[in-house]
Amino acid sequence: MRLITHNMLKCHVKNCKNPDKQFPLQFKDVKLEQIEAERNDEFLVRMLPRLDWSALLKTTKELGIVIPEKVPANPADDDEFLQALHTAILEMHVKEGSMICNGCGHEYKITKGIPNMLLAEHEI
């Protein structure tokens, strides 16, 4: 799982409604791998307003990935920024591990890079 996807997912257990805790999900015991990918600046720039930057910052810090604290004024012209963003959200893969909800504690497992976000029947 890439971090762009992680940035779009929240805990969706019934009654877990605190927006500050449902998101971002906290990684636990992750096996991280970087896989080089072709950079697409157009895509990166278009996704910027759709990302939750503070969540991405928090998550990358926890995983030891460095991205700028703030989005620059002209991201489209900032090669260094785009490269850091590309690496963080598109090249870093969580291969194994879990995502834990800081609200209800639900653990979403990631196996072979595929997160299982199915809920148990008491959670829907």
Binding site: T5, L9, M47, L119
Partner: protein
């Protein structure tokens, strides 16, 4: 503006204009044509485009477009056609010394080699002196004799119309072979055929910079075709076995990943996630440029959503087994209940209205009982405008490829317009039951739907 002939594939006729319209948006090419001049019975359409370069650009992604031809002349006889071509000699002199090739096609009749050669020779008045080259000629000319679609095409002695011009661009029909499901390392028993998957990517306006999502991803066909055209894509499915490839056909090859490797799409097919879209974990302001999907009709692969039939058996997820709550065990799989077709579609529209960017597109398949179908059966939503509705008929039933565009942001109180106004059920409601009661007997194998 100069005239061109769009030479369509004669197949999936109801999808051709819709695709052409999508291509004009994708390629930002201004095309003018008389809609009334289009007929599903002919593979030709006269259009006006600013230049040959623009014409080539327009069709380069076309799946139902064979080629686009600069119009030089046409007529009900060769004499008529030649007379028109002779009016503009300035067109031909440009190719006097070019290498060239002539192709002679018959629509509704196969022409013999002798007929083709004598036709080519009849164009000798053009005075082309360059070499004939079958591969990569600098100019390619097309003559097509249109006899018309008929069950007895050879009964016509003379063509209804003859077309002639210079081929300036081609569609992408070669991709149908590239993505042929038989050639994929991994497939499932409900995998959509390559041609329709590619057409869907065009309907969705999938391109570089866009993010596409399939909430019933199955074996990932649409992620592949959309990402082939440059989009980044994501998918989810309630059934992780389809994604991982641990059940069904060709198991054990690493599922969707095997195909992504084969087609080198790992950079753009971003992720596949296991969840039920009825209970989805997308963040509130997560947004997609397109949602492209083949919702489960529940005929062959039964449509399911999470849940337990009311009042039958109590919940088991919290029961402790061997010291562990059962839902925390690795082999836990939550119970599912059937998901009725009209509910699937209504939920899908609601989801799309919420999760698409304004201008984003929803492209999905809707099965309908053919003789009960009325255009107002197509589910509507105040935030979504119907762009195209193309039918693939199978006799008693059809499936329709529906393309909708999000035209407005939705307010919390602006929910889906329920189809209460319909005095009857839409022709897709309870499709599974009606399918089995009406059509199951006597169906050809190729018309069985998933």
């Amino acid at each position: 503006m100069p005239k061109f002939i769009v030479y369509f594939a004669h197949w999936h006729e109801d999808f051709r204009l819709a695709e052409l319209e999508a291509l004009t948006l994708l390629e930002d090419v201004v095309v003018e044509y008389d809609r009334a001049s289009y007929t599903s019975k002919s593979p030709f359409l006269i259009v006006e485009i600013e230049s040959a370069l623009q014409a080539a650009k327009l069709v380069r992604r076309g799946i139902l477009v064979r080629s686009i031809v600069e119009y030089w002349g046409s007529g009900s006889t060769y004499d008529e056609l030649f007379a028109e071509v002779r009016q503009k000699p300035e067109k031909w002199t440009e190719y006097k010394d070019s290498s060239f090739k002539f192709t002679v096609d018959g629509f509704g009749k196969s022409l013999s080699q002798e007929e083709k050669i004598s036709t080519i020779e009849s164009f000798s008045f053009l005075g082309f002196e360059g070499p004939i080259r079958m591969k990569n000629p600098s100019a390619e000319f097309l003559v097509c004799e249109e006899y018309g679609e008929s069950s007895k095409p050879l009964s016509l002695e003379k063509p209804r119309w003859i077309w002639f011009g210079r081929v300036v661009g081609r569609g992408s029909r070669d991709l149908i072979d590239k993505f042929d499901v038989k050639k994929r390392k991994y497939l499932g028993n409900t995998t959509m055929d390559a041609e329709l998957s590619l057409i869907m990517a065009n309907q969705a306006l999938a391109r570089s910079g866009s993010l596409v999502y399939d909430p019933f991803v199955g074996t990932g066909s649409f992620l592949m075709t959309c990402s082939h055209f440059g989009a980044c894509s994501m998918g989810s499915d309630i059934d992780g076995r389809q994604i991982r490839g641990t059940a069904g056909f060709r198991r054990g090859v690493d599922g969707i990943n095997a195909n992504l490797k084969q087609y080198q799409l790992q950079d753009r097919v971003l992720d596949t996630v296991v969840f039920d879209v009825c209970h989805n974990p997308w963040r509130d302001d997560a947004l997609f440029d397109a949602i492209v999907t083949d919702p489960p009709y529940g005929v062959r692969a039964g449509a399911k959503r999470l849940g337990r039939k009311n009042g039958t058996i109590p919940e088991r997820s919290l029961k402790v087994v061997d010291g562990k709550e059962s839902h925390k065990r690795t082999d836990y799989y939550p119970p599912t209940i059937p998901y009725e077709m009209s509910d699937v579609v209504n939920d899908l529209l609601e989801f799309a209205a919420e999760k698409l960017v304004v201008g984003g597109r929803l492209v999905y398949w809707l099965p309908t009982v053919a003789n009960e179908y009325e255009p107002e059966d197509i589910p509507a939503h105040p935030a979504l405008r119907l762009v195209a509705n193309s039918e693939q008929p199978f006799g008693g039933w059809s499936r329709r490829l529906i393309t909708m565009q999000k035209v407005a942001l939705i307010d919390a109180d602006q929910r889906m317009s329920e189809q209460d106004s319909l005095a009857r059920d839409p022709a897709h409601k309870n499709f599974r039951d009606r399918y089995f009661s009406k059509f199951k007997r006597g169906l050809e194998d190729n018309s069985v739907i998933d």
